[in-house]
């Protein structure tokens, strides 16, 4: 959202989702690079 800080339960959910996706992506990259 433009100029509007993203603070609250919604941002917490988004952060957790992004962290989960980022974490899974990181693991996939690590596993892929190992081969």
């Amino acid at each position: 959202m433009y100029g509007h800080s993203h603070t609250g339960i919604g941002s917490l959910v988004l952060t957790l989702a992004a962290a989960a996706k980022g974490g899974i992506g990181y693991l996939v990259r690590v596993i892929a690079s190992a081969h």
Partner: protein, 458 residues
Amino acid sequence: MAQTLPVDEIVVVADSCTDDTVVVAASYGAVVVETEQGGKAASQDVGLAYVTGDMLICIDADTIIDVDAVEKLVNELEAGADATCANMLPMPQQRGFWVANRRFAYALGRYWWRWCQAEVGRLMVLSGCAYALRTETVRSIGGFPGKLITCDMDLTWSLYRAGYKTTFCHKALAYTYDPETFKVYTRQMRRWASGFFQNFQAHRAQVVKSPAALLVVGSLLIDLFMLPVTYTFVVLWALHDPHALRWLAPSIALHAVITTFIASRTITWKQAIVGFPCYWIANWWNKAIYFWTFIREWILGRHYVSWTGRQGRATVISPMSRSRKIGLISAAAAVALAGASWHAAAAEASLPDTAFLVLAITAAAAFALSFFYTPRKLTLLACLCTAGAGGLGLDRMSTVAGGQVFWCLAFIALTIGVVGAVLAYLGEDAQIEYQRGAAFAISAAPGSDLAGRPNALR
């Protein structure tokens, strides 16, 4: 100009330009196009015809990019992105409360919410001041969309609709002039907030189809609407038990520590520490603007259609359609009926009393919903005051012995007030003047002289 990766060509679109931009740009060898479009997207479309390269980096006239920004943006496109954008910051020399707030917010977004949005695959907006995309990509969607009041967000979601992928190039930095005064800041926030709600009215199918989009947009709306609920709860709780407020200070302190640390990764610690209180206070104003804009754009159906800001042009808001007005009155009547039923059950009032109360509450509710931006405010106010006084009189006089004369007067006042208010409410609004970005104005005023100019938007 002095980039680590030199550009092949520079196209400058000087739209409605009154300074020496044309001469200065031409002296540096740029292709200069002069237009009188009066809008960004339309001007970009004109400039697009002159572009020969396969990658396009769009920079606003009030924006300066880092020396390696082009290289980083191009690397992002070559890595597979269809479009990407830089992270922006206010110009380093800018000072003041509103700039400190914006500097903190941009720095926080760089490693927090914008990063999160990009990570889940739905960056909310490609920052209009500095973004990059493939020339073929923008041509394939018919050029730069310009129907909404914020064309960069419209472009971003038009790209999603066409199946393109965006990324956030947080390493590339762009510096832009941000509002320095309350007046200009508020104008800009009103436009941005209006653009947000217009965008998700226009692109709602995208939000429903994509879980990532639903997450990004939904989380923002939840944060917006939870604020009044949360703080009402806090206030009520504090009234009941003032000691409960002792939790408020630690929660704000925790918020300050986390966000200041994240912001300090981009700006200096001093800027971050100074910026937090500005950001925290300004956020209340931001959310108030967003909340009211939600009511105006989505409930009242009155759309912000003029481009304002530093240019100082007047705000233009489209009129409410008659069907919307009737719908609002019906909704208000339903609410009032429910309230009156409760009143009748609780006070054992007579049926006529209840019926008149329904009329009064209906008129008041319809009035409350449409008061702002209505050109016939005074007429409505007078009618509603009359109706309110009449309704109140009826509620009281029916129980007073010998009060029949007053009861009749109150009945007449109520009738005149309600009928007058409804007539004033449903009356035709004055025709708005056409300005750029007026897609909603056309839909709101069919048959007007606007309807014959559908392509003038681009």
